[in-house]
């Protein structure tokens, strides 16, 4: 299943409000679909140049995208913290 929600949280130094961003992946992907189609075209050309199966490359890319849910990166140092979570 492709990712549904990307969460980014940045806790800055003391006294400043943390930044929280929730990105619904599917609506954003729909909005950016013209760019995505362009990117797929570029990938297809690159695959042709390097003699790689376009279908295989796209299939693998989709597999990677589908495997992303559950990924979490949490870094905290001193008063600053950074969290990226994909669900």
């Amino acid at each position: 299943m492709m990712p549904q929600l990307l969460t980014v949280r940045v806790n800055r130094s003391r006294g400043r409000r943390p930044i929280r961003i929730w990105v619904p992946v599917l609506p954003v992907a729909l909005i950016l679909s013209p760019l995505l189609i362009l990117a797929v075209g570029v990938v297809a050309v690159a695959c042709a140049v390097y003699r790689i199966s376009v279908l295989r490359a796209l299939g693998t890319s989709w597999r990677i995208l589908s495997a992303l849910p559950g990924t979490r990166l949490d870094v905290a140092t001193g008063n600053t913290a950074f969290l990226v979570s994909i669900r």
Partner: protein
């Protein structure tokens, strides 16, 4: 477990059960085997572990730093498939650079199946680095 299997075979030999019944009983035994594995067994049933975790707890110049990374094992498997798409000329260049750095690994000899086995074996891996100001743990959960 072997005793139970022997009992089933003995009953089959004595004609107390049919071959089909014996087959079903043995299949049931094999199904129960992973569940009955004790806590001392190295790993749980395959597919239970889903994530690779990297936890770093360090102190740099008196500032505590914590890193907590969780990567789905499925993502590593997909990455391995992506690696299989790398064109041979790029692998050749990578080999040359690895050799220069003192790591003489021939990436062209790595097969996707071998990498898949490597990912499977990660289930049983735990790395712990314990230093006075740094603790690193890499494990699967």
């Amino acid at each position: 477990m072997d005793e139970q299997r022997k009992d089933i075979l003995r009953m089959l030999a004595e004609g107390k059960i049919t071959a089909d019944e014996a087959d079903q009983l043995i299949a049931a035994l094999e199904r129960d085997q992973p569940a009955s594995a004790g806590p001392g067994s190295a790993a749980g049933p395959k597919g239970r572990l889903k994530y690779l975790r990297v936890v770093v707890d360090a102190t740099e110049d008196g500032t505590p730093t914590k890193v907590n990374i969780r990567v789905p094992l499925q993502l590593l498997r997909a990455g391995v498939r992506l690696a299989a798409l790398i064109p041979p000329q790029a692998l050749g260049e990578a080999n040359a650079q690895l050799s220069k750095s003192g790591v003489p690994i021939d990436l062209t000899q790595l097969k996707p199946e071998q990498l898949e086995e490597l990912i499977e074996a990660l289930d049983e891996m735990t790395i712990e680095v314990d230093q006075p100001d740094t603790k690193v743990r890499v494990f699967c959960e």
